[in-house]
Symmetry: C2
Subunit: 324 residues, 2 copies
Amino acid sequence: MKLQQLRYISEVVNNHLNVSATAENLYTSQPGISKQVRMLEDELGIQIFGRSGKHLTHVTPAGEQVINIANDILGKVDSIKRVAEEHTQPDRGDLNIATTDTQARYALPNVIGTFINRYPKVNLHMHQGTPSQISELAARGDADFAIATEAMHLYHDLIMLPCYHWNRSIVVKKDHPLAQLSNVSIETLAQYPIVTYVFGFDRASEIERGFNQAGLEPRVVFSATSADVLKTYVRLGLGVGVIASMSIDPKIDDDLVAIDASHLFAYSTTKIGFRKGSFLRGYMYDFIEFFAPHLTRPVVEQAMALRDNTLIEKMFATTKLPIR
Amino acid sequence: MKLQQLRYISEVVNNHLNVSATAENLYTSQPGISKQVRMLEDELGIQIFGRSGKHLTHVTPAGEQVINIANDILGKVDSIKRVAEEHTQPDRGDLNIATTDTQARYALPNVIGTFINRYPKVNLHMHQGTPSQISELAARGDADFAIATEAMHLYHDLIMLPCYHWNRSIVVKKDHPLAQLSNVSIETLAQYPIVTYVFGFDRASEIERGFNQAGLEPRVVFSATSADVLKTYVRLGLGVGVIASMSIDPKIDDDLVAIDASHLFAYSTTKIGFRKGSFLRGYMYDFIEFFAPHLTRPVVEQAMALRDNTLIEKMFATTKLPIR
DNA sequence: AGTCGTTACGATGCCCGTAAGGATA
DNA sequence: TATCCTTACGGGCATCGTAACGACT
């Protein structure tokens, strides 16, 4: 058994069982992968992939287990490399952050400013995507951190730590009827077409629930992943915006009116996550702490030891998180 | 980085930094290991081993971390092999049990009888040793299970599951003064020379504590690791035996008198343990259940998920264990 | 002086890449 | 028909083992 063989089977799965595509991504030849996969299967005496003729069709049950362990191993191989880097060049390295547009645009800039100031030699890479893409990036090790709010069920392979709570605001143009009200009821809001996040980003959670609890159904006429896009369409008069309060910039958005909606929708919690069992560089601990000051290194290490998000939630049950 | 390189550094540590000895154990040449170790160090850019001239003297701090992760990886490589074997030959394989003489002699025979009857094709290997040897065998993966009572602090890398409680008995020859008493006090017992387990086996825990709580100090004139040896010396009149109640066989020991001592010494708990993160074969789950019927596969899997012996103790806090 | 790790060197064997073959959708 | 995996073959390279060297205890 060789590490490359494990890498190959893992990547073949990541490439939807397409060996040719895998070969291209790994900058190697396709027969090489094919042969190594077969050799591993021969050595283990089991099929990892099911085949119909010469096409890989599915992963066998045994293959599933093998691949899970292989991914653990590959993660730990990365950890070894990180340990070495930590000792050779403590303030140098890469930091890959996967997050949503909203976080990248409104929550992170200050943090990143502080970070690159402290660690100018660390290369920072931001990956934007849907919650499921974010989860996958982090789970595969392509991203060091996942920062996200929704769809926590996607993050089984990750340690997720709560960072802060945030609420939503209603956003309308200044000449909109709602602009006069300081306190909007859910029933009033339901009378207007809604402009908010796409399903899976924020909808299907607190927004949906807020309406449903009042027996109402929001009429979402437009949805997008980024607050900037949403605000643009609010400006076009397409509807009433329901967006994260932090994504309203008083300077830029002075043509809009924001009405706090924390009484209509329960707060959400943004979390930062990383792969279970992965070694974190010193600057990674610092990044976490810059982002969420209560997550000091000892706290993070304690949570890592729990290894289970249910237990971690309990650990932070009594922690007072900031509200943004 | 190659798996062999990780194997090499791990084994070099296991062989007390003696590369020559490591080479012999691995049936390979000594320069081969030396070179691979160096190549790994070069690739990582760090020293794993400290050297004085050409001798390996110690493990560097970075090396310590690397070796820990390497051991995790090697354990998971074993897991992959086991997964494969589980699918190719479910009722065939090896079972290595590390335990103390007492367990091997009195607690295990029936269990093993049941087991080899159910799994005749599984090769069983028993390893006897001190608690610390047992812990090491299991932690290195040389043994699948550690079965032991004492020195739980040694078992940090293992998942330890409670199996049963047991008490001690006082054992004397029939003509001994104590043989007449049905209820012996700790003060009475303290007047006689004691024959019991060596330090670290059972002493230094409940026996020591039982005396100390009464402000007494036992006078241990002879100690050994096995109850059989202890009984032999009780027969020689060397002293009063204090041994595990289960190690008294009414048939064989009809020349001795056993007096229950559960009121003098708190019960002890025998546990079965295995490496964290290791894949268990189907027959291994069955072995555990044969040994401790309450440890069914779902229960064991639940405990494995906790990964922490403190949490596991809580999990079993309310479980009623058998007393032997 | 003996044990031990490093260096040097030669041979085996593995892995990779190109090219051709055959099956599936 | 186009895509895709497998087989076949040849070149390069890494690994391993033997032998000699140098260093520490």
